[in-house]
Symmetry: C2
Subunit: 405 residues, 2 copies
């Protein structure tokens, strides 16, 4: 059902020097399925992350935050699917720690040098033994296989790459992500790992990971549910020949940031395109606001409205539902007579009502497409925001009603 | 599909002295269907109302607010279904005014003494002519017929009554409501009209309408969408023999408030029971919060989560989704290790995870019921809140994808 999304092809995903990928089948939930990914990082790297703000955040999320704060160099990531290790209390913490400990021993590291990630069902005890027993069976993998190893209800693996030149030196970026339900900012049920061989100082990488997440993974919604396990990790191995980036003033910083954004947005959009039951990919663009925050409020009011999303599913240009969502977005003193609403390039509403020249056939033609842009011009400022979402179908209900996911 | 909801029976709905009900078929959307209700009020009454906070509020909502503020006595309400007269700009205002003018002329009133209400499709011009032409065909009706006349996608008419004695004098309260989709506080797509023959001063009635709405119509959600037309009107005719209520200190005030609340809650719950596609009626009760606001935040996070609502539809005791929703409700410094989660009387989670004695069969038994209470004990204060919602089914998608409602 994914909307205009193709699986990644190994040849299109450059390896990142300093990053080694390994996968295994631990049989956590489904026998014979790749469900464990270990990422080994060479010395000299820098790692930064942002995590879910859900108060019920999972044990591995808390451990990641502790290990990143410990000041040691991160040398390995261990990811499992099939179990989220969330809502599992002290026992969940101990199990996540045991997995980190086993990876640390295998690689002669301290336990704080290992970051754990889990995704899958909540409230079930993590079968840590199965993961630990699978560690000796880990085998080398490429990025496409790594993307497969972190899938849960995803129907298509998600990966993206960019290469750029900084001062004549080639830089590569490759990333993978998973997620398709419980998708909403701060953050979606998603894991995202993006690595580059560029060299970036830790303070700058910490800043980059936040800025990039904000305009990518924090700008999507499938169902408005924020998950317990979301994590986005940025890895800089420093193995390219390009000079260290240590200031936001450097042109190289902006170049790298744009390329990282491109990768992260492609991954974030892939999550929406593969959204549970999705048949359409919707971009909601809000311009002319007084602040980015109010533009995001309007964009999310539209993007998470079940009435709007079922209208997209039905290809029904039901403009009233769009206007109602704008109206309840909570923007203070919004003057609805000054805003304009577009479906792609068709002006459908202004002056507080339907545009006099608008004909339903025009709206219908846009609604029939698989990719649609809703654009709102608030007419009260210079701020803007963009959010991506999908429609709401029978299939969404089936997936979430039939399966314990 | 409505959950444990029966149509009102005329004999159970006492007439309210000073209130005359009239209905007609104007053929606004469907020929032969009762789609216009006029409520005539005797002199000496008091009327108060609360309205949608949607910025795209409809022309009749704005007119209601103006007419209530004009300081004249309200003597008639005119309600139409089939068209919301929302998102219709200046033309919509003129059409709503024309309807009020015609009702005023018919009853020898000033135009400001008439309150207009519309519900139905948004963005279409109101066929004011049809309504005006139908006015001479109005005929007397009882409350049950009045409830039918304001239905849109409702499958069952909604009405409720209570009688009480104040100082030995009998007081009657009867109310009707409509709504089943685009239901969320501030307010749901709902119209509610509650009348009593008690005598209440205008300042007190203004306070009552807010307090009653807050604990009834503003405590329900079907799909999280707040509509453009929502209105709740409280009418006090003063025709009973009981003394005027003019102070919150009077015991009679609390007696009347409780009875009005009972009627309003029954009507609000009826809207949820008849929620589009509903197969289950869910009460979400949050106790032990630091403020009512944070309790409502948690209750609504649960009540509007599509993942939680599809799990209810599937009778799946998927506790992880409930915990995740509590976690992302935005409660500052929420300590998840201190909260408890119950399904009816079954303690399912505490200490940050599943309760050790909990067995899935227990949760399953509750989930199989058509009425379920989710109770969260936050363990950090004395505030509480209660919210009502329904599940999320295939039928919801079908209703909203197949029809322009």
């Amino acid at each position: 059902m994914a909307v205009n999304l193709n699986p990644p092809q190994a040849g299109q995903l450059p390896a990142i020097a300093g990053v080694e990928l390994l996968v295994a089948e631990a049989g956590i939930k489904t026998p014979g399925r790749k469900d464990v990914l270990v990422v080994r990082l060479d010395k000299g790297n820098t790692v930064a992350g942002v995590f879910t703000r859900n108060r019920f955040c999972a044990a591995p999320v808390r451990l990641c935050q502790q290990h990143l704060a410990a000041g040691v160099q991160i040398r390995a990531l261990v990811v499992n699917t099939g179990n989220a290790n969330a809502g599992t209390g002290v026992d969940g913490h101990n199990r996540a720690l045991a997995v980190c400990q086993a990876v640390a021993e295998q690689n002669q590291l301290q336990v704080e040098q290992v970051l754990p990630f889990s995704t899958g069902v909540i409230l079930e005890p993590l079968p840590a033994d199965k993961i630990i027993q699978a560690l000796p069976t880990l085998r080398q993998a490429d990025w496409a296989e790594a993307a497969q190893a972190i899938m849960t209800t995803d129907t298509i693996a998600k990966a993206a790459s960019r290469t750029l030149e900084i001062d004549g030196k080639k830089i590569s970026i490759t990333g993978i992500a998973k997620g398709s339900g419980m998708i909403h900012p701060n953050m979606a049920t998603m894991l995202g790992f993006v690595a580059t061989d560029a060299a970036v100082t830790r303070p700058l990488l910490n800043q980059l990971v936040k800025e990039v997440a904000d305009q990518s993974f924090n700008s999507i919604t499938v169902d408005g549910d924020t998950s317990t396990n979301d994590s986005f990790i940025l890895i800089s191995t420093g193995k390219s020949e390009a000079a260290l980036i240590d200031s936001v003033e450097q042109p190289a910083y902006l170049q790298l940031k744009q390329a990282l954004l491109d990768v992260a947005i492609e991954l974030a959009q892939a999550i929406v395109r593969d959204g549970e039951g999705a048949t359409k990919f919707i971009t909601v663009e809000v311009n002319g606001g007084r602040s980015v925050a109010e533009c995001k409020d309007v964009a999310y009011a539209i993007a998470r409205s079940p009435l709007v999303k079922t209208a997209f599913f039905a290809s029904d240009p039901n403009l009233g539902r769009l206007l109602a969502a704008i109206g309840y977005a909570g923007v203070a003193d919004l003057d609805v007579d000054r805003l304009s609403l577009y479906l792609d390039d068709v002006l459908v509403a202004c002056d507080g009502g339907r545009h006099p020249d608008y004909r339903e056939e025009q709206g219908q033609a846009v609604m029939n497409q698989s990719e649609i842009t809703v654009r709102v011009e608030l007419g009260r400022g210079a701020a803007c925001a963009k959010v991506w979402t999908c429609d709401f179908s029978y299939e969404y209900v089936r997936i979430n009603a039939d399966y314990r996911s």
